[in-house]
Symmetry: C2
Subunit: 492 residues, 2 copies
């Protein structure tokens, strides 16, 4: 689409001034409307080197209220730290919260295309990146984000002239690097690459807008006009339901919770022997995990009082405290609630070589948020696929992902609740909410069965821990963790 790009006729200077004033006034109002409508807005600037992204960005935000926007400058080459995370990670952590604008001076396009230009990205990896990006943009838009994508376009001659002018001035020469000149020399092949990328990511929900960037003022006006137009549509469309997509991931057949026997137990002595042995193995593995830079995510979900905490403790007691983190997941804080529901988990992903343990997880979307009406039906129905996509991204990036459902029966929960109530040092563990949730056992069980059957993918299956006997569950968890990590260490 870039190759065929037909410039609109540039208006006269007077017309630009007139329209500019109008659009700036509109944006001043729109920033308030966005805040009131609670729409999160991402404005992505991509384009040729020296096309003037920065200075146009400066003009666009000039009259905006600084409380309403944020600017991030990303680089095409991820840092060491960033490379220790999945591809999407450093981008997803940047997404704005509702009511806020985030201006992104280059985003995921530049990393991909610069690798294509350098010839360091295989064709199959390119397709993977495109799939990841389209998936992420779709998820953002489906979850209420406005994603505006601008490509700043200038000709080879114009770029050359600008690079020379910047280089000639000692105050600006730092802004030009070798890559810029390389891009200019290989303009035609870069054009092919950019054109293809724009085509491959030009989706109805987040289409590309190509900016004729020869004149800065005219470029600014184009951005403002498209932006205001996009805002009008986004505000009009608040609360829209996204089409539900078919699960495309291979699923395991699973057993409904009610059919899982819970009479499994372990003898006390056995327990201690096995615990000791498994801990020793896990401790040793942790070193290999670190050395081989394997990221590990262990996700715990389960009934209240099922014994998640104690189970997690048996894992962590084997680990080097410098190499793991436990994330207790409670109700989202305001700044978390205001973003895509997976954001707080993207944010907490471990870097390669580290282990992250989640005490409750992203599955809250299809349990408590579903049952308490904290999200719409369309939201939680869509979430099964979104979560599978999220987990697929992790696994494809080499994350060892282990998901536990800690299972007990209703009678066992009642006994443990009663015990907590009656034991002073355990009373903090039991709240009115626990009792209220208990009344909804059947509804939860139905939702959990659906969750497990829809998200037990072959690459990230659920493991049910039968936890009427907590010790049995602990040993089973340790075995699964040890096996999975051992396997990954062998492959790595």
């Amino acid at each position: 689409m870039l190759k065929k790009f037909a410039k609109a006729a540039k208006p006269t200077k007077e017309e630009i001034s007139e329209r500019m004033e109008e659009e700036q006034a509109k944006l001043a109002v729109n920033q308030i409307r966005i805040r009131q409508a609670k729409v999160p807005v991402m404005v992505i600037f991509e384009g040729w080197g020296a096309a003037g992204k920065g200075s146009v960005l400066g003009k666009v935000i000039k009259d905006m209220d600084p409380r309403f926007f944020d600017v991030a400058t990303l680089h095409s080459r991820p840092t060491e730290e960033e490379r220790m995370h999945p591809f999407l990670w450093r981008y997803m952590v940047e997404i704005p919260e509702e009511g806020q604008f985030k201006f992104l001076d280059t985003y995921w396009m530049e990393e991909v295309t610069s690798q294509l230009v350098a010839g360091t990205l295989a064709k199959s990896d390119y397709h993977k990146r495109i799939d990841s990006i389209n998936m992420a943009e779709r998820q953002l838009v489906d979850n209420g984000y406005l994603v505006m994508k601008f490509f700043f376009h200038i000709s080879q001659e114009e770029q050359r002239a600008r690079l020379d002018a910047l280089s000639a001035d000692e105050n600006t020469s730092w802004r030009v690097n070798e890559d810029d000149y390389l891009e200019n020399e290989q303009y035609d092949s870069c054009l092919e690459i950019y054109d293809r990328y724009l085509r491959d990511t030009n989706r109805s929900s987040a289409p590309w807008y190509i900016i004729d960037a020869k004149s800065r003022r005219w470029a600014t006006l184009q951005v403002l006009e498209f932006l205001n137009m996009g805002i009008d549509v986004a505000i009009h469309n608040r609360g829209v339901a996204a089409p539900l997509r078919q699960n495309v991931f291979p699923l395991n057949k699973v057993t409904p919770l009610a059919d899982i026997p819970l009479d499994k137990t372990i003898e006390y002595d056995d327990y201690h022997d096995q615990l000791k042995e498994l801990r020793a193995r896990l401790g040793a593995l942790h070193n290999i995990v670190y050395r081989k830079r394997i990221p590990v995510v262990i996700a715990y979900e389960g009934w209240d009082a099922a014994g998640k905490g104690g189970n997690i403790k048996r894992i962590t007691s084997a680990l080097d405290p410098r190499g793991y983190e436990v994330h207790p997941i409670a109700s989202p804080e305001p700044h978390e609630k205001a973003r895509h529901y997976l954001w707080r988990f993207w944010h907490r992903l471990p870097k390669a070589g580290h282990i992250a343990i989640f005490d409750r997880t992203w599955y809250g979307r299809v349990m408590v948020e579903r049952l308490e009406g904290f999200c719409s039906e369309n939201d939680w129905r869509r979430a099964f696929n979104e979560i599978n996509e999220f987990e697929n991204e992790l696994v494809e990036a080499g994350v060892v992902l282990i998901k536990f459902w800690v299972q007990i029966d209703s009678e066992t929960q009642l006994a443990r609740f009663t015990d907590r109530q009656n034991t002073p040092e355990k009373q903090w563990k039991i709240t009115d909410e626990d009792w209220r949730n208990r009344e909804k056992w059947d509804l939860y069980e139905q939702a959990i069965n659906e969750m497990i059957s829809r998200t037990s993918t072959t690459f990230a299956p659920w493991h049910v821990l039968e936890s009427n006997d907590k010790r049995y569950a602990r040993i089973k968890a340790l075995e699964i963790v040890v096996d999975a990590i051992e396997e990954a260490c062998k492959r790595a």
Copy 2:
């Protein structure tokens, strides 16, 4: 996506029966909701030969009210007549009206993929088809259509067994043809082709649903569940605004109407000489147009009393009545209004070798519909691009497309209105509405200027006919028509 398709586990017979009953009841309600919400629904069945599309279709509609749906069976090989139209034509004429279901037993996929299988579609033509299809599906969804796409999937062995069984029975052997066996023999390469097509057309707004079609009842249930789910979302989303896309077509620079001098005239004798000569040339060209199978579309727009009718008459009087049609376009009839606004024009496209003259056109969307509020602001803003896309499809398919704006000034209109009012045999030509529209001259002029500047593409530019002197305008129109057709005849 087909290659990686992960079948969901097939439920037990009892569960299928239970869920089937539930979904059929839901569909019974949903057909009424669709009618009330005025959503047009397209249900597209594609898939392997003998995958059971027909029998599943039969089961899906079994309990539907026959007034609410319609079935069309399309063929992968267009007829002679169909090949004389642009690729999309035979599909676009089939779209349903609002509140109605249209079940389409194969649609545009099959024509494209069968040509790929046969090796008769060049790679560049494949990309063109994909672009056309994605464009059309997007336009339909943006204009309120629900487009549900199902691909019926069976294994090579299953297909082979079914073909053999069908062939063996004299009552069903007619349902199997050579192509089916060919598809079975080349199963793997067909799989590649289908997989690619599904990927290339899997857009958020109209995603694919792959149906595990081994069991008919299970396949029926899958279709029903996806269909009901799609309907829920579509009804929830009535009135959604679609994101506006950037114009990607090359535009001509145009002059605002006010700056076009209208003092051009022609002497009476000159007029007659030229008229005679041009008519003779056009008459001769009409034979070549017919022989070379060139489709021609001449579109007239202009002010009331600008002289469109007389202008058209001067064209048609040169033509063989068997080879042209004039389409006077008034307010849409109910069955037209109930469909995508371009439908009535798709419907009236000339076949190759014929000339269609439109007295008023699809541009009503951005003039009267815009100004009278017959469509939303999002609708008419989106329409500029949609119309450019529509015209691009025609031109790419070889249509000679000529667009006239018949221009007069306000005083001339007043004089002609007054003359009509005062001349008994002309009084039928003037209505109260004409006078009311006249009061909105300035608003119309603004809209028309925007229309001309946004849709004067290099491949389908507007020609302004200065018609204060109607004779001048007629000669100019004839010259343009003769030149354009002559040019096309040379190229053909």
